[in-house]
């Protein structure tokens, strides 16, 4: 059975239809990549799946591990194990990274009927994960994303994912803004999390990322529809030929 099952999913923003019937089945442990021209609706899909207000579902259905995802509020979806790494991570002045991670993790643990982590244990665990992502400890004490460089913000999204250990992670252009070394570090971070139960939906413009995070399936989104699906060779093909074929078709 699919972990995430998206059927004929249609979404409007400000009464403007953006997604026009998306079908996508993501099985446990699978990595799917979505590529597509600017403005084709990739971020709209990720926001709509994450439950952001203002993204009105006008048709179709989405189930997550068998339950109706669209019935859940954004925070419930996250506690159920859906994670979105933002294309544009948000700055939170006055909220330190550590505080943020602690509240997020404890909200999830509470939901799972687990006890809150003891402060010391928590700090230790987070430090270890930050280190794996080459993030200095002082970044944990700083306000979330405030004054972070573009690449640091993306790394911070990856850290949040590593701490929250979601079942389904959507990475919206987590690779853009990363230098070559950081791309490797972040990809390693993602690959460390890969296992037979955890699935990924990776949105990217660059085939290069998919050399590191090798996808099982690649889809092309154009004008709110998935216009082509294939294996990882599709990404290579797109790198050569661009989107012209699909833009015309859509």
């Amino acid at each position: 059975m699919s972990l995430l099952s998206i059927k004929n999913f249609a979404v409007e923003v400000d009464e403007k239809p953006i997604l026009k019937g998306i079908d996508l089945e993501i099985g446990p442990g699978e990595v799917h990549a979505i590529m597509g021209p600017n403005g084709s609706g990739k971020s709209t899909l990720s926001y709509a799946l994450a439950g952001r207000d203002g993204y009105e579902v006008t048709g179709g259905s989405v189930t997550f591990d068998g339950q109706d995802l669209l019935e859940l509020d954004a925070d419930e979806r996250a506690r159920e194990g859906l994670f979105l790494a933002f294309q544009y991570p948000v700055e939170l002045p006055g909220v330190t990274n550590t505080t943020f991670l602690k509240h997020a993790l404890n909200a999830k643990r509470k939901h799972q009927g687990l006890e809150e982590l003891d402060a010391l244990e928590f700090v230790k665990a987070v430090r270890k994960k930050a280190k794996e992502l080459n993030m200095p400890d002082d970044m944990l004490k700083r306000a979330v994303n405030v004054g972070f460089s573009g690449g640091e913000k993306k790394r911070n999204e990856t850290l949040q994912m590593a701490v929250l250990e979601p079942r389904m992670a959507i990475l919206d252009e987590t690779d853009s803004g990363l230098d070559i070394d950081a791309l490797k570090v972040v990809s390693d971070g993602v690959n460390r999390l890969r296992d037979e139960n955890r699935s990924f939906l990776v949105i990217t413009h660059y085939q290069r990322l998919l050399d590191y995070i090798v996808p099982d399936h690649v889809h092309v989104l154009s004008a709110g529809r998935i216009v082509k699906s294939g294996d990882k060779s599709l990404a290579l093909e797109l790198e050569k030929s661009g989107y012209a074929e699909f833009v015309d078709a859509a």
Partner: protein, 364 residues
């Protein structure tokens, strides 16, 4: 009742008067008529220790019960009670806590207008703590007036907490004069349920003085919180910084009237002023009137005022990490106010204020 209060009550400023447009004192008049203001009876001595969260800070403590000073052994040698007011010679390095406690019970109404003047010594450092708290729910009108003279290179840190009951009216005034190289670093936390107006005037009378006026407030229910400031730069090369933040919920109202006045000779002035408010309820309201009046030409001055609601982007970000909406709102609200506390240099006071803010935000 003192003559001054009598005069004040019979001649309450109206909203038509300069500087009173946003703060309406009619309620005080109504209470005054109903109950008749009396001076407080003998101090309810058993409660002298209940001076609120700042009691935690080790300090010489001078308690004012319903406005009347209760001089203790601890404070007798630094205080002289004169007909025209209380003269205080604080000990350098030893915090002094001026604790205004209202004990009036329902049906009572007390008014007071203590006048305090603090004389600092050149080059010395002082820590002043001021608190306004209530353990009764009766009407009190407290109009403290504090004046501080800071001679050359004196440093005064001042932390004030206003946490009165819904029946408390506080109209406080503080006037600070800074000589050359002197520094005044003040922070006021206002979380009361009644009406608080704080007028702060700082005059930078000598070169290279520094003044900071910081503030954070939480408006709840129908509280009214007014900060009216005037920073006067009379000397060259002095610096002033004002940073106020408020959160308003329920039907509360916030007022910020801040003015920076730079005299003709005050070249090289650096005067910054900022007020930011976060509205949490459609019935809450804030009026901000920042003003710059500059007569010198070589100055660096800026002011800003913003009013907004909780940022939807930030709210979604927290929720997308699993934090429930009300919890996320509380976190963002707290974060907004806590940022202003970073201006408090004394860590112990900062911690007390942080904890108190968390409590009061939870009480909303």
């Amino acid at each position: 009742m003192t003559k001054e209060i009598e005069n004040f009550l019979s001649d309450l400023p109206t909203r038509r008067e300069e500087g009173w447009k946003y703060t309406d004192l009619k309620a005080i008049g109504a209470v005054a008529e109903g109950a008749g203001w009396t001076s407080a009876p003998a101090a309810r001595a058993q409660r002298l220790s209940e001076t609120g969260p700042l009691a935690e800070i080790d300090a010489d403590t001078l308690v004012f019960v319903d406005g009347n000073p209760v001089v203790s052994d601890e404070t007798s040698d630094i205080i002289s009670v004169m007909p025209e007011g209380i003269e205080i010679a604080p000990r350098p390095g030893r915090p002094l806590h001026l604790a205004f406690v209202s004990t009036a019970i329902d049906g009572e109404a007390f008014a007071s207008s203590p006048k305090l003047s603090l004389a600092a010594k050149a080059g010395q450092h002082y820590a002043l703590i001021e608190s306004h708290t209530a353990i009764g729910t009766g009407n009190t009108l407290c109009m403290p007036r504090i004046s501080i003279e800071a001679p050359r290179d004196a440093v005064i840190k001042h932390a004030a907490l206003f946490d009165e009951s819904a029946a408390g009216f506080t109209l406080s005034r503080i006037d600070v004069t800074l000589d050359q190289g002197a520094e005044y670093d003040g922070f006021a936390l206002q979380t009361g349920l009644g009406l608080t107006r704080r007028e702060a005037t700082v005059t930078l009378a000598g070169e290279h003085g520094f003044a900071r006026l910081g503030g954070a407030y939480v408006g709840r229910d129908s509280s009214h919180i007014d900060n009216t400031t005037l920073v006067v730069h009379n000397a060259a090369n002095a610096r002033s910084l004002q940073d106020f933040r408020g959160v308003l919920d329920g039907e509360s109202r916030g007022v910020f009237q801040g003015k920076v006045l730079v005299a003709k000779d005050a070249q090289g002035t650096d005067g910054q002023q900022q007020h930011k408010a976060l509205l949490l309820s459609p019935k809450a309201e804030v009026d901000a009137k920042p003003e710059l009046e500059i007569y010198a030409d070589d100055v660096q001055c800026a002011h800003g005022a913003t009013v907004g609601a909780i940022d939807q982007n930030q709210l979604f970000y927290l929720r997308a990490r699993g934090i429930p909406e009300d919890h996320a709102r509380a976190m963002l609200t707290e974060a907004f106010l806590m940022q202003s506390l970073s201006g408090i240099s004394d860590m112990a006071i900062r911690d007390v204020f942080r904890a108190h803010l968390t409590t009061r935000l939870g009480d909303r």
